[in-house]
Subunit: 230 residues, 2 copies
């Protein structure tokens, strides 16, 4: 194997391990064993577990950000639902690693060494993924210069998606498909609350809703919210 090929193989093995357990729960020996190579050979490609972890995080971040890309075609609710499903696919595939990372960063310490720089790297990657999601959503809303209230709705919805995924991972007690639809409807609900306070948000929401089919997630929510029982 070439150098780059071997590095990619190790990153793949590490990502698989980091996805199934918190990174502080296993050793370089285990990574070497899973990759079918010797421990010194792992160190030949990566100075230590932390640098391998950082490389795996970078790979996972790129993967996740790529899932946010969605063609600018058809109703917005359906687009957001497709992206939300791909987000949950990712969360599902990388559950324990995702939880460990999002719950205050990885308590990774290689041989007791300090890993504040790894924590900073991890935070920066998490932020870059959030920013990628934010930019994608604005582009689908055809907005280039978002007013403060729209920024607030979009950024806080992204945080809602994260916390929903984290609570779901803790026991998986609500069906995934229900949460995916619900999250898309949460976006409309948060936008509607904001629109109730601000005419610019109201105009944006009306523009979006006007293009939504009655059987899409947004249309479905409006039916349910305006039903007489609630």
């Amino acid at each position: 194997m070439g150098v780059e090929e071997r590095r990619q193989q190790l990153i793949g093995v590490a990502l698989d391990l980091f996805s199934r357990r918190s990174p502080d729960e296993f050793s370089v020996d285990e990574i070497a064993s899973a990759a079918g190579i010797s421990r010194p050979l792992v160190y030949h490609y990566f100075p230590g577990k932390l640098s391998l972890y950082e490389a795996a995080l970078q790979c996972a971040s790129d993967d996740l950000a790529s899932r946010f890309v969605e063609p600018h075609e058809g109703p917005l609710g359906a687009r957001l639902l497709r992206v939300t499903r791909r987000y949950f696919d990712f969360v599902d595939e990388h559950g324990p690693g995702f939880s460990a990372l999002m719950r205050g960063g990885p308590a990774v310490a290689a041989g007791g060494a300090c890993s504040m720089s790894t924590a900073s790297t991890a935070n920066a990657l998490v932020d870059s993924v959030r920013q990628a999601a934010y930019v994608q959503i604005l582009s689908h809303l055809d907005v280039t210069d978002p007013p403060a209230r729209l920024e607030l709705v979009v950024r806080s919805w992204i945080s809602l998606a994260e916390s929903t995924a984290l609570v779901w991972l803790d026991g998986r007690r609500v069906p995934r498909a229900e949460l995916e639809t619900q999250l898309v409807q949460d976006f409309a609900a948060l936008a509607a609350v904001s629109a109730a306070h601000d005419e610019e948000m109201g105009a944006l929401l009306r523009r979006v809703v006007a293009e939504e089919p009655a059987d899409g997630p947004f249309g479905d929510l409006i039916d349910r919210l305006t039903a007489p029982t609630v």
Copy 2:
């Protein structure tokens, strides 16, 4: 001054500094100078900046959790609004420190030393405050054994309150009072979306809404959401 009194004074001075700037932006010298004592005397009470930071965080966490306590009297929407206002008071008072803490933990390094244990302490305190908010909200809903969907709504709303506060602190471009009302209405909106998918949540929401006055934040939201323009 007695030992405990001097410690409390130092914690107060540190909390004030940590609230106005990120903890890695100033030195023990500055803390000593603000407290009007010598640097060695600071070290007499606290082994270093990190332990003082941890003590200040503990103090701030206790303060914040105490603000969640609200009498079980009157409509829920008004109670939640009062608590949300006290939460924003806290965020307002401790803006930069709150942002630094919530955006991935403090990059505090005293003389280059490792601070993973401080990061863990900080994470544990943040989690304990979230849990205190969660317990308080359930108690106001008169629920002791929350179904999964209610847990999801409450925990994700708490995360929404955090992200709303963080976006607000970044420029303060939306009036605080508007965001406070909006957050309380977001709670109702998220509960309504969940109730649209689940009868148990529907029953809970109807019970809460039935006791709400028309001029409370929940009644106001229902008026606005069912208005024909949206």
